[in-house]
């Protein structure tokens, strides 16, 4: 197996731009890796061999011509199958879109192509991003490279697993309640949910429009920052896109100096309900942060215990509306149209055949929460709780520069363990959800293995809106110390995949 697959994205970009290695060689090395291990991991729903090699060849032509390249030109990437890709299938992990080929690119995809990033294919996900394990994909689960019997997180388990199994150094995820950060935590990779509006949502199939945000996944903080800088920025095609300069995340990742910073531990995110090994690694990180010259204080966010409940009203409500378009009329599959049935009957059969049980549960729940007579008690009340969560964050950030917590309450659980217990599944996102509710940026950073099961644990770092650069500064400072302690990247401790 080529050594190229274990290299950082920043290193690969340097090798390509200097002409030492061709982008085609880099792409082929990763395609070979996918061919060998993806039968076990199942991170990809669709591999675009031809397209990847063609875009790599285009980068090589630019190198030969002496053209200036972007910071990630020639670096391969896995793209969550929720982003529209012109000419490439986009399924959102759902049968209802099986075989659909979009006629346009999402803005994030356009930016990646312009930057010469090589898109290897589309990664697996929970159907329409509903889930925390990737078990709700209509095309079968993705497996965690640390232990193939365990989940890689979700909904973006394909993106986290492709990065953690060295199939790609970079991936794009989307995060509505933790779908970038929780998968990063349980696979020992880095994932960032940018400030809401920091990355365009144009061409990304909407789950909950007021919560969704695309972001970067990688194996280290600097690579994550480089990808963040490529995809972020104002987009006139997305009315909720923030028209302001992108925070300098690359400089922050290189600064890695937290001396004199104030770091807050969120009292309500941790303790009871969190696995012992998760708590152990979190407490070690707190000591590490203090040793780097930052002041750590505890802050209270009293409304956070109600965040999960509010989220599971707001998300299904928005989703029930957003998913109304999947009715077999303009795109996707149509079921039962034998010429005798009404449009309502055909829509109902199409949606019953096309949607999995978790999607149906949430659509029904959202329809209920938005019903006359229940609207104020459920959706309206949840929106008020959302205001209280934002006020808690505002009060906390008046005292500290960043907040920290464990990313997820446990390490990766076994495939099948929580599949038919929706409430147990929802608890995975208890620490990540408040961040989406307030539209803030958050990072998950690997901080070690839980002693009891030798599986990765993630630290969540949260910053105020449009202060995404703080995540990278803090994350890089902690990462530098941990790399020195471990003697190399955490993914070097993962078992070799059998296929390799």
């Amino acid at each position: 197996m080529s050594e190229l697959i274990r290299k950082d994205a920043s290193v690969l970009a340097g090798l390509v731009s200097s002409g030492e290695v061709s982008a085609v060689e880099v792409a082929q090395a990763h395609l070979d890796r996918i061919a060998v291990v993806d039968g076990d991991v199942h991170a990809f729903l669709h591999v675009d061999t031809e397209g990847a090699l063609a875009s790599a060849a285009a980068v090589d032509a630019k190198v030969k011509a002496g053209e200036k390249l972007s910071v990630l030109a020639g670096v391969p990437l896995g793209l969550k199958d929720i982003l529209a890709t012109n000419g490439l299938p986009t399924t959102c992990g759902s049968r209802v879109l099986d075989g659909w080929i979009p006629p346009y690119d999402a803005t994030v995809v356009t930016k990646l192509r312009e930057a010469g990033v090589v898109i290897l294919g589309k990664t697996n996900m929970d159907e329409f991003a509903m889930g925390s394990s990737t078990e709700h994909s209509a095309f079968g689960p993705t497996h965690n490279p640390w232990d193939l019997e365990r989940i890689p997180g979700g909904s973006g388990g394909g993106s986290s697993a492709c990065v953690a199994s060295f199939e790609a150094p970079l991936a794009i995820g989307t995060d509505t309640g933790g779908s970038i950060r929780q998968p990063a935590a349980v696979t020992g990779s880095v994932g960032v949910k940018p400030t809401y509006g920091g990355v365009s949502r144009y061409g990304i199939v909407a789950l909950a429009s007021s919560l969704d945000q695309a972001g970067p996944c990688a194996r280290n903080v600097l690579d994550t920052a480089l990808l963040h800088s490529v995809i972020a920025g104002h987009d006139p095609m997305d009315a909720t896109s923030i028209n302001a300069p992108v925070p300098d995340v690359i400089a922050a990742a290189k600064r890695a100096d937290i001396k004199g910073m104030k770091v807050g531990i969120v009292k309500e995110l941790g303790g009871e309900g969190y696995q012992a090994g998760v708590r152990t690694r979190f407490e070690e990180s707190v000591a590490l942060i203090e040793s780097l010259g930052a002041e750590v204080v505890e802050v209270s966010c009293p409304s956070f215990p109600a965040a999960l409940a509010a989220y599971y009203l707001i998300l299904p409500s928005e989703a029930s509306s957003n998913l109304a378009k999947f009715d077999g009329i303009r795109f996707g599959n149509r079921v039962g149209d034998d010429g005798t049935k009404s449009v309502e009957q055909v829509m109902s059969e199409t949606r019953a055949a096309g949607f999995g049980s978790e999607v149906i549960r949430r659509i029904i729940l959202g329809t209920y929460a938005l019903s006359a007579g229940y609207y104020d008690a459920y959706y309206g009340q949840a929106q008020k709780v959302r205001t209280l969560i934002k006020q808690d964050f505002d009060a906390a950030f008046a005292k500290v520069d960043v907040l920290i917590s464990p990313t997820a309450p446990t390490t990766a659980f076994k495939i099948g363990e929580k599949l038919d217990d929706p409430l147990a599944m929802y608890l995975n996102d208890v620490a990540t959800i408040p961040v989406n509710m307030a539209g803030l940026p958050g990072m998950s950073l690997p901080i070690g293995l839980a002693p009891e099961d030798n599986l990765p644990v993630g630290l969540q770092i949260i910053a105020p809106a449009m202060a995404d650069d703080r995540l990278y500064n803090v994350g890089a400072a902690i990462e530098r110390e941990l790399l020195a302690k471990w003697g190399g990247p955490i993914l070097g401790m993962a078992p070799e995949l059998a296929g390799a």
Binding site: W100, I101, P102, P103, Y104, G197, S210, A239, T240, I242, A306, L308, A309, A310, Y312, L313, A324, D327, I329, R330, F331, G332, N333, R334, D337, K341, S342, V343, E344, Q345, M347, S348, R351, A352, F355, I360, R361, I363, I364, L365, T367, Y368, S371, Y374, A377, Y378, G380, Q381, Q383, K384, V385, T387, L388, K390, P422, L423, Y426, A438, L440, A465
Partner: protein
């Protein structure tokens, strides 16, 4: 806030245009009831003087320049449609017969 019955699930499924088989309604009702009990926690906080928030970034009237651009051709727009006729989406019957 009361529980959710099989009949409620059937009604909501009809509103949402999802044809749930009768023998699955009970399973959904049971799960949805448990979820609704859990999310009732939103009522635990005092929100008497709290304004509801629909969106993390307050924005109104976002405009852009009205510049003609390239849009999809009819062929592209219809490329993913399950049924097409005369450059249009072909749909099942939408009116009852006379």
């Amino acid at each position: 806030m009361s529980g959710i019955s099989q009949e409620d699930v059937a009604h909501l499924a009809n509103l949402a245009r999802i044809n749930i088989p009768t023998d699955e309604l009970g399973h959904y009702a049971k799960q949805l009831d448990a979820i609704l009990n859990a999310v009732a926690e939103v009522s635990s906080l005092d929100t008497a003087n709290v304004v509801a928030m629909s969106h993390p970034v307050p924005m109104t009237n976002v405009f852009r320049e009205d510049i003609p651009g390239v849009s999809l051709t009819a062929e592209q727009a219809l490329s993913g449609a399950p049924a097409v006729e005369d450059e249009r989406f072909r749909v099942p019957r939408i009116l009852d017969e006379e």
